[in-house]
Symmetry: C2
Subunit: 167 residues, 2 copies
């Protein structure tokens, strides 16, 4: 007599495999598509564009580096390199934080804002064409719910949230 397997690999069902593959294909195709669109029209990859957008919506068009990294879901290291590059373009500048000498603000220059104004319509159109124009309103709502659930489960805030005994 043996015990039931503790947790033999629970493979994906055919349905799940189908969904997973569709997910991978759609997300990689869209990511590539937007990267190319923005590289062509704005001269930067999608993530960099997202940084400018975030800055443009922040008070006084500036954010602490860490806040910016959190908002974009990237590491501080990656952000450092990215901001260095955007700084070379003259679209972003750094500024010391007066209250915390370790801190830096990144702020969006007028040129950076201009790039955004010039390229945002095309980008929105690309997003719309790839996603919102193809989905029904119900599907858009469903997608929102689904993505919200998934994002919540992946917050890096607490990678061992479900393994409390390891903490």
């Amino acid at each position: 007599m043996t015990m039931a397997p503790i947790d033999g690999p629970r493979w994906l069902s055919d349905e799940e495999q189908r969904v997973w593959r569709a997910y991978l294909h759609a997300t990689t195709l869209l990511e590539d598509h937007l990267d190319r669109q923005l590289q062509r029209d704005a001269g930067m990859p999608h993530i960099y564009y997202g940084l400018l957008v975030q800055l443009s919506q922040a008070p006084r068009r500036r954010l602490r580096m860490t806040e910016l990294a959190k908002g974009a879901k990237i590491t501080r290291s990656r952000l450092s390199h990215a901001v260095a590059r955007l700084e070379k373009n003259g679209w972003v500048l750094r500024e010391d934080c007066p209250s915390d000498k370790r801190g830096q603000f990144a702020y969006l220059t007028d040129e950076g804002y201009a790039v955004l104004e010039r390229t945002a319509p095309g980008h929105v159109a690309a997003v719309r064409q790839a996603m919102f124009d193809r989905l029904t309103p119900e599907q858009v709502a469903q997608l929102g719910d689904i993505m919200k659930v998934m994002a919540e489960g992946l917050q890096p805030s607490d990678p061992n949230a479900d393994l409390p005994w390891l903490r």
Copy 2:
């Protein structure tokens, strides 16, 4: 008198923005999560892992480079680099195509297959935990439909499908 604007930028509605942001966050978090998981447990990024999976499912565990690239939705250039790296690991080998002297097959070695056997359960578990364990069956079905629609709209087969006059 002016004409109605041809197509003033159709911004995203609040709802759409919310969905778009959720989509970006969820997909980037998941991608990062799986990349780290596989880098840690299998010593390669997610895309490389996907290449091994594809090979493992192909007849005689081999595919033409272009087929492999198409299946993985990546450029041939990227694939060349990837296969070079996997070859260094001893997980994949190249083989001349007898019927077309320009062609190359990539095939999965026994070691490559072993890596897959060893790491697949952990990877499936990660996918399951991030996606399928968190969604209801209805949501999984919805996600499948949605991703299918999006992927279809992004097939690189015909980037100007909606601009026939440019072809």
